[in-house]
Each structure stands twice: as C-alpha cells, then as structure tokens.
Symmetry: D2
Subunit: 387 residues, 4 copies
C-alpha cells in the first residue's frame, strides 16, 4: 500500500490517494469521519478546531460500501476557502492581491525559514500552508482505512497520551479495548484518570502564560502476527519503518519501542523477554520490554511504541526572529493558538502506526481481496501457534 | 544512492554493493578499512573481535584510486570460514553434517524465534547467521563512502558514546574535530573524560556478573547545507529517514533529535530556537534544541541525533527459553560474549547517519561527478547565506 | 517526480496527485485543459467524447498561477455522474440497485475477466470502471505539467499518428514545431497530408463494418540534454523507463526506438550513427537511427519512439465469450463505440513520454525551483558543448 | 525481489546481490552455471567467449543446497584480471600507467561518448568497462534464480531466436519443452531447423564483410497464473515492467507482446482473443494474439514477448567518429569482434523476463519460504479454475 497527500492549510481541499487496498473491504464515509473527528478533539485546542468540522468525501475506489481495489480518493474540503480565495487561489491575481497576507517573518520551530531558503520563496506563506499540521488530517484519513483492514484481521490499535509536560500516566495492565474506551472518554486522551486533572491544569497554566507544552504519545497494537518485517536487509525491518513514520509526524522529535531509552539504564538480564510456550497459545514472551520487536520482526506480543511531540511553536509569548526582507529582528507572530496538541497527536500517531502495520501485512500476505487476506492471516496464525 | 548488503556471520564473505556514488571521488581501501577497524574496537568486546581483523577488498567501481560512478563492490572475507565450511557451505552435505551445530534453542532478545517462525526454519542457525550484528560491518563499509563524500563537501560527522548504563557524558561545547579526536582516543568512545572511568567500571562489573549493559550514542553532523529533506510529503522528511535508519541498526530501540524526549517536559518558549542573522553567516539559530531540523528539513545548524542501544542479549547469566523441538524450557546458550557493544555501535551509527545525509545531498544536488557536486553545494551555500 | 491517479470511468471524479514539481513553474488550468481537450479530439471517436468536455480543477500546489513545490491535485469531475449515482455511488444500496448494470459477461481484449479472477469480483463493472481508457485523462493531466517544465527548458515534445491500419505516414524531415502544427491541424493527427484521406477512409470503413482498427504513434522529443539516464545499473536506463511507460498505456502492445524492429534487418554499418563535431554545436550524430539513445542514455539527438496500439476491443461485430455465472457462451456486448482511438492515443503517448523525460531531468538536476533548474540545465548544455 | 549488479568488463569480478528470494529453494552453483554457460554459446561469437568460461561462486544466502531467505551473493571472477591489474586496479598508479589503454575515441553505437559527457570522464574506458554487455552475465545469474523459483511452481520459460538479419523462424505450434530442446540444440538458438542454415550463412557473410547483424528474440512463458500485475495503477502493469526490463538489455531497441506491431495492421475482430470455458481447465482464450496480457494482467495464456537487438556496433568495417581530445575525425576502433550476438541475447532475455515474472509472483503470493509459495500458487490456480 502507498499513499500521497496533497493540500494547503487554507487551500480548497485536502486530498489523499490511497493505493493497494484489497477489494471487498467494507468502507464507509463514517469510518473515515470518526477518525477525523477524533483528531479534532482534545483539551487545549484553539478556535479553529471548533469552527471547522472535517468531513470526508470518498471520490473513487469505493462502490456500494465496499472497496474495489482501485485507488481510493479521500477529500476533505475547506469550508472556509471562500474567505481565502484571493489569497490562496490558483489563478493569477494582480500585485496588490499577491502581497496580501504575505509572510516575511519566519516563526522559530516551524518550517518557514528553511522551506523558504530551499524553495527560494520570499513569501513564506508558500511554505507554511503546506507544512501546517493540518496535513495530518490527510494522513489520518489514510490511516482510517488501515485501521479498518486491521480491524477485520482482529488487530487492534490505540493511541493515548502517556505524558504531558512531565506529568506521566502509569503503565496500566488493561486491555486494548479498555485503553480505547478510557482514552476516548478522556479530554486529554489519557488512560490514567489519576493524572487527567494535572494534565489539564498544566495545559491551562501554559495557556494562561501564553506558552505551550508537549508530551509523549504511546501506541499499542494487539493481535499482530509474529514475523512481520524481516531481519534479512536493513530496510525491511518493521520497527525501522514505524520509527521513520512516527518522526515524520509534524512536531515529533523522537520515537522508542518498549523500554526504549530506559534500556540504556537496565542490564541485559532485566531487558530481554524470556520465552515460554503452552499448547493453547504457542510461544509467548513472559514480559514485553522490547515492545513487540526482535530483529526488526514482530514477536506476536503487542507493539508498544512511544513518540515525543515538542510544544507547539506558535506562542503568544513570542520568540525572536528576523524579517527576511529587512533583516530586522522581530518578535514572532501568531497564526494559531493551541497551547497543547498532544491529545490530537495521539490520534494522528495511532493512525500512522496503523498504516505501517497494515502495510506490512498487506505486503506479506496475499491481499487482492479481503477474504483471501483474512484466511491467509488466520492460517499463518495457526501455523505459528503449532510450530 | 542505495546499497544492499549480503553475507552470513560465519559465511564466506560480507558483500556490499553501493550504487549511485558520483564519479571522481578519491576512494582507497584504506578509507574503508579505517572505518572497519574503528568499528572493531571498544572496551567490553569479547574474543572474536580480537582474532578477526576486518579488511576490505574493492571489487568494482573504483579505478586507480577514483570512483567511476559504476556500482562499488566492497567485500570483507571471513578468514575463519575454513573452520565453518562444513557448517555454512553452500553445497549439499549429508544429514550428519547438516545437523551439526544446529540451533533449536532460541535466545531471548535475538531474532532467532520470530525469524524461525516466519521462514519456517527448524534450524535457527539459518536466522542467527544473518541477524547477527556482524552485518553492521557491511553497513559501515557503505557508510565509509558516504563519509568520504561528505568530507569533500566540508561536512563532518562523528559518533560518540553519550551514556552507558545510566552514566551520562556532559554536553561539551567543543568542535566536531575535538569530538572526533576525543572519542577516537577513548576506549569507551566518549568525549567526556570525567565519566570514562565509571563507564569502564560499569562494563567490568557487568562482565563480572555475566551480564550486559547498553547505552546511548550521539551523532553530530556539522556543515550541513540548510534545506535538505522536504516538508511537502511525509516520506521526504530527512529526520524521518534518519530515524528509520538508526532504528534499523541491530539492538537500537529508539532515536531522538535535539532535546528529544526532554521536549515532553519543556515549554514552547524554552524549546524552540530563536532565529538571528548576520551578514557573514546569514541566518542562524541562537540555540540548537531541535537538533538541526524544522519541518523535516535541515536548518543549517548541526544535526544532533541520539540512538539507544539495548544491552546485548547474549549473557553468561542465561535467560529462560523453550526448545522448539522438545518444547522443553532451557537456559539460553551463549554464542558470543561482549558485555557492552555501545562503543562499537557509536561507529556504526555514525556511518548510518552519514549515509542518510550524503544520500540526501546526492539526491538534491547534481551528482554525476564530484567536481559538479562540490561546486553546486558551494553555490547553494552562498545563495542561502545571502538570501 | 511521481504521481498517482484515481477514479472510475463513471465515478465522481478523476484525480491525479503530482509530487515533486519544482516551485515557481507558471501553471494555469488552461495549460492542463489544452492537453485534455487535445486528447478528446480525433477522427473516429464515438458519442461520449462529444457530450463530455474534460475540464480540470487545480485543488492544491498552485497559487496565483505558480507552483509551490507542494503536491498538485488535478481533478476532472464527471458531469454525467448524477445519472450514475445509484450505480457507482460509494454508499451502500439495497440489493436491487446493487445488481443494476451488473456485468457478468467479460469482453475479450479488456481487463474484465482477468481482473475479475484476480480480485474475485463477480460483477465485472468493478474492474472495467477502472481499466477503462478514461484513466488516460488523468495521465495526460500529469503529463501536461511535465510538458510545461520541458517547455521552460527548451525541450519540445510532439506525438503524431505514424500508421493506421497499415497506412503509413512518411518520415518527413520537418521541425518539431511543424510537426506540432501539422498534427494539431489533422483530424487523424498525422503529419503527412498525403495519407490523411486514406486513414480516414480506413476508419470509416471499419466503423461501417462494425469493426475497429489500431495503429502506430510516434513521439519526438527535441532539445534533450545528452546524458539523461545511466548505463551503470539496468534500472537506470531512460529508454527502459520510457518503454515501460508506453506499454503501460491502455491498449499499447509494443514500443521501439529509432529503427526499432527494423534493426533486425540492417547491418551494423547501416544501423549506428556516426559521430561528428563542430565548434558551434559540439558533438552530434550524422544520423539518428538509434532514436536518441546509446547505452540507455540520451545522446542529445531527438528521442524518437514509437508505440503500437491495438484496435479497440469493443466492437459492434461481437466476439465470443462466456458468462461467468451461467458459463454459457455469448457474443460480447458493447459499452462504447469508437472505431479508432489512435489519434487520441497520440496525445496520451506524447504526455506519457514527456513525463518520463521531465522526471529524468528533475531527478538529475537540482530542481527545488524552476530558476535553479533552468540555470543548471543551461550550464550543463554549455559544458557538454565544449567538452 | 530486487537485485543490484556490479563489475567492470575487465575488472576483478562481476557481483550480483539478489534480495527477497524465499527460503528453502534448492539452489546449486550448477543451476547458475548452466545459465551462464548457455549465455556464452552461440554461433557468431568472437574469441573472448572461447577463452573465458564463466563460473559462479555463491558467497551468501545459500546453505547446504538451500536458500536461507537472506541475500544471495553471486560472483563471477575474471580469470584474465591478472593481465588487466595495472589498467583496471583500484589502487592509485603513476601517470604512465594511468594513461595506458586510455580511450579517447568514442565508438558509435556504444555508451562511450554520452557516458563520458555525463560523467565528465576524459578516458572513456571508465564508461565502456561498465556499459559492456559483459554485465548481462550478472543479470543472467540473477535470472537463473528466478527460473529456479518458476520451475518449482510449474512455470516454464524459454528464449529463442525468432529472426536474424531478416531471416525469420516460423511460428511452430510446439510445446515449451520442445522449444527448450530445439533451441538448446541449435547453434543459432532457433526452434525452426529450416532457417538455421540461412541464419548461419548470414552470420558468416557479415563476419566476412567485417560487419555485424542483429535480430529478434522471442520468449515464451507457460504455466503463468492468471491475474499477475494489475490494472489499477499504470505502474503496476506486468507487461509494462517486462517491456522496461527487455529494453534495458544492452543493444535492445524494442519490445512487443503477441501480435505487437502487427496489431497496427489487423482489425479488432482479428486481434482479440475469444474467451471459452470448460470444466477441466476453466476459462481460456481460443487464440493468444495478445501474448498473454489484457489490462496489464496475465490471462493465464502463455506470455509471448519479442525483443529486437540491433547489430553489435563494433565493426571491422569502421564507422566515423571524433577523438574527444584532438576533435579530429577517425575510423572507430575495435575492442571485440562478434559479428552476431542474438543467440546469446536469447538467453539473456529469457532470464530477464523470468526475473520479472518470478518477481510478480513473489510479490503477489506469500513467499517467505517455498512450500508456502507453492501451496499458495496451487490454491490460487484451483480457485481461478473453478471461478
């Protein structure tokens, strides 16, 4: 499977073309919308999220509720575009229009300046419209299809907030279903009610101070067949692909599996997962410190992966920067005002990880149509259980 | 640029084919060997590193000391293969031979079991020979070419040990050249002499206990042009590619850029890098908390990336596992006995990161031959300086 | 550069996302529409082409008449969709609706049967809607951007009809500009007026007989820099990529460069192109029998490539086939009625070849923005001229 | 599956790394050598083929006669390298050595000049050593593995000479096994004994005249499952991939499927293949004019693909060219002296097509190990038979 996204933040439409989805997958607009709406929620979001409700149109690849195997086009139109037509329209405009809303002041922490340098744009709107986190809606749309595939194969994925501004949720020994339920109920998308209030207070405080805060998202994937990915060539390891995908999410600065960076402080005897076997389940690990991967391949234990999101760079409390025309210093301007986007990022990362896992399954198993894929995954599970 | 590696740990030869290297790059066996030998050093390595000295043969793509632009073949032969010929030879053998050194006891933390499940191998030697970290020698060989390209472009790369078993080196405000010098002199490849002794003691203690320890490697890349990578599509972000590459190194469980996971505990106003300008250098950041990336593109500041390596899973103090034939539990056996491989991993990660950066440069700039590439990179630097 | 197309023949919309286009390319809807309209013309087309006029919307990647370097979304909506909504809509319908216009009779020469077998579709509408040549409109849209890039670099591309049903146009020693003019004026898109009438008569005759005819398209590309593609690895040869792209056009069954299959009948001394030099032009070939390629690389001479299109398989004079439910034989039904689509295919192949050439240029030269690309191509031409 | 080849014509070694081959494939050196030796035969080859006997070493990926799923390294060493060490060695040499055997006179029809222009090499040996058709030995080595996979799946591939210098073999209604036998017995690798003598005479005559001749190769693949490739995206059509691969063979200038270019002269009613059905075989075509493809997917009928090879450009009867230093005209020199290489090219094309077909199968079916792949292909055949 592969996909391309397109669209500017204040442009007409976000578009995603998804290629390689098996035929006969039940797929409705509602499936995609559910994901899009979850992404738009979250404590700490600013005004824009409230006025705009993302809704998808499916423009190809689906007929009568089922996929055709042909490419799927998902479109999220921007209702506000009428107010931006002059500024973001594709047709030539006169010079006066052209310089309206021109951006010459790069915001620290955004792509503004290096994008402008690279593409030789003197109006940084030409960069920020695309580098905006709005693009993650298009990735969530793609991921919602991946989640639908996984769901049919009995693979469950959930993303939740593990930490906000140093306030950390405990590792709770609860099922994925419970994690889904709890995180969906929590305004900060955490699964640990005991920290919810502190997280909200941290967000409120940051907002009050005109500042922003980041955090850590954890994604768990359960029901993954053992043996996805491969050790035989460096670029076929599945944890490597997931790592790349997580860091490609706007504002994510790191990723780790299982113990992750803590493995720099533990001994080998406390780090690896002992292997056991019983006739019902086959092989299993007594613990899951490695987060579901050994040698770049899934072990069959849940995938547990964390990603860190830095605080949003647009602040009321501005940072110093330099105008690219005058070269004069200035205090960086504000285009948006979320003080914490980690709850929304949990939804994004959930979908991004789901995509990688679903892709790995579709690549490895025969996947022209869903019945074939399902049977093949079931057969493989049985073979592995009795190996 | 792209490359494939091949070869089993006790097989005849490790081979790397590197494709897309510009013509006219000065490249000698010595350049590759220097990298290979640095990888073999390090406090805490076991016997094997001492008896074997990796030396490369260049079998194609280089003539009279210069690359031709045709694919480069790098071979590291295994002198010990004569002792393994029966066990690892490519020709059919009789049944008695075939089951000699057969492995039916999977080691926790290795690819043994999931590889066997996936490929339906009942002799796990068929997995462990390839999943062995010996493969990293082939990647270091590829990376040594990348480093040579970078060096001609004035880009400097260094990998050093940032942490071993919780003992952390300070962030020293020293140049890359000093980092190279200090880490090359240090047996644990750290740049902070004040922790060297404690690190060695931790390794000694782990060894004495029949246990192993891991750590964190940091790689710094200086002199990178701004604007490598791109924000326009999720799979073109350079930090994402580096993240994937680092996690693909054997035993690496996480990666972070700049502040990394600490950004979950800092505020926006303390996380982003303010922008400044002067006529001599052009734009620069006053700090480098984001590790050289914004929007998936290089800022021109040094790339600072950390990777975490888990402790080596082969322990004298064994872990529980299950024989795949008898299904009986056993205590996992030992094939190798390093107690800490982090110093060697620093060399590996240095080369892996160098590859990604060099690839990004070769992709973006015209690179049929080195003179063209050099001029083009210089012109770009000048354009950006005066933007 | 890369692109994905999506959309079913009677679906809502054809969509193309084009990725990797340099910034600052002047691009208007009119540029794309001109290509789309040229594709819709041609003697021998049936009713559908007349009622539908393809017009593009640019939904992303272009602002105020210039590309941003971000992905470009091109959409061609299907005005007739309102009449197909029940049949092709994405929402579930009741069983009665679902089997309306169901196709269980595979048409020989179409993808119907093998597509149905592969994807396990019992309604072959699920195949034919995507395998329809309507998809070529989306590829022409992508190609129109490629042509715009080439045009700014002084590279000219034209596709014209070389042969229809055995009636062959002469090789005329005229410029590309004249070829463009003549083929645009000709209803059968030939550049040889002396055969135009016979070609039309052949089409009329086929139509009258309820039959169809095919032909050969020739594409010429002038002004190509020498040295595109590479001999160093089999998958980097540019003629190979063009060959693959031409055969990927619906109904194309072969491709050849220069003398092509005639080279099986000529001697070496009559086949190769002698090399000459003068100070003004640098090196050149006295002839161009090899069609602009040696060793998979451009020579700087015009690229001359032919593709053969088989007759359209949908005939009034039907072919025998078998119903996939009843297994009863039947005479294959008609969905469309062009008797000859070669003139339209000339436009498609022109755009498909333009895409490959433009991609090769964008890959080889620095291409973040057009000014950089233009300067770099000009510098390379000068270097090569004085080599 | 993917592979990279490396090596210069007079270098130390040709190397191929093949990645993605299923585990448990029985693979012996002899399998590869058989293919290499077949490639070296053929009426009309010059001296070099006689002195050199290509023999492979398998350096990784195979153990005790079976593949491991890890990358396979195939090496063909050049026994003559000792005589070329000074000229082609990788170590620096003094200036005198460096200019020995320097080539400044580009040969028409070779990559010499455009390669030199592209890579800015003033010694064209740096090009011709890699652009030499010797590289096809490395591709045949890769293809021999593909053939082994196909053979286990009951898929048979054969390449034979269809035409030499206008002398055409008839289309004989014989089985693939007979084609293999006949072509292996024929010195010109034709399956039509009635033209063998004329072909040889044509070769003799060309040789006597100091000239060269080309021809057409046909490859037939039998036993292919229906539904390989896909119509859903232009770059997933299997005929397109085969077309690209065939044109990437040195000296190949065109490719066609089934009727190919003749389809420009036939009517629709004579071009398409009527569909029939019986309970034993399932669906089949009454004819095979389309060469086994509809909509870019296999129909289950034999793949029939032709490629045209131009005459070898190195002639005793020389062509005019220009020295790149003096700019003086000269008569192009001779490095090699085959007068006809079409019989050898038949072996090359057979292996190149086999690779594409095997890759398509391995991509579509689960292929971690051979037993799984075999069962899955058999199941699919049964499903399709009873669709």
């Amino acid at each position: 499977m592969r996909y391309l996204t397109a669209g500017e933040s204040h442009g007409k439409q976000l578009t995603t073309i998804v290629e390689g989805v098996p035929a006969h997958l039940n797929l409705l607009k509602e499936d995609v919308n559910e994901s899009l709406i979850r992404r738009q929620g979250g404590y700490g979001r600013g005004r824009r999220m409230k006025i705009e409700k993302d809704l998808v149109s499916i423009l190809s690849g689906v007929r009568h509720g089922y996929t055709l195997a042909s490419p799927i086009t998902l479109a999220v139109t921007n209702d506000d575009f009428k107010n931006w037509e002059d500024i973001m329209g594709e047709d030539p405009v006169d010079e006066d229009q052209h310089i309206r809303r021109q951006v010459t002041k790069p915001r620290p922490g955004h792509a503004d300046l290096n994008g402008a340098l690279k593409y030789n744009h003197r109006d940084m709107r030409n960069i920020l419209e695309r580098s905006s986190a709005r693009e993650t809606a298009a990735r969530v749309a793609a991921g919602s299809i991946a989640k639908k595939i996984l769901s049919e194969l009995g693979v469950k994925v959930v993303g939740y907030v593990k930490e906000i501004y140093g306030i950390e949720a405990s590792d709770l020994p609860i099922s994925v279903d419970e994690k889904i339920e709890k995180s969906n109920k929590s305004l900060v998308r955490t699964i640990d009610e005991t920290v919810e209030e502190s997280m909200k207070q941290a967000i409120d405080q940051a907002k009050q101070d005109g500042d922003s805060i980041g955090g850590v998202v954890e994604v768990t994937v359960e029901g993954v067949p053992a043996g996805l990915g491969s050790h035989v060539q460096y670029d076929r390891k599945l944890d490597s692909k997931i790592a790349g995908a997580v860091v490609s999410i706007n504002a994510f600065k790191g990723v780790e599996f299982g113990l992750g960076f803590k493995a720099a402080q533990t001994r080998g005897s406390e780090t690896h997962d002992e292997i056991d076997y019983d006739e019902t389940s086959g092989y299993y690990r007594k613990t899951n410190r490695l987060g579901g991967f050994e040698g770049g391949m899934t072990t069959g234990m849940p995938i547990v992966v964390k990603g860190v999101m830095k605080p949003i760079p647009t602040l009321y409390k501005p940072l110093e920067s330099v105008d690219i025309n005058s070269k004069e210093p200035f205090k960086a301007s504000i285009e948006r005002s979320d003080s914490c986007a980690v709850p929304a990022a949990a939804v994004v990362m959930e979908h991004v990880v789901a995509w990688e896992v679903a892709s790995a399954i579709v690549d490895q198993f025969p996947s022209d149509y869903m019945e074939q894929l399902k049977k093949s995954v079931e057969d493989e599970r049985e073979r592995i259980r009795t190996f």
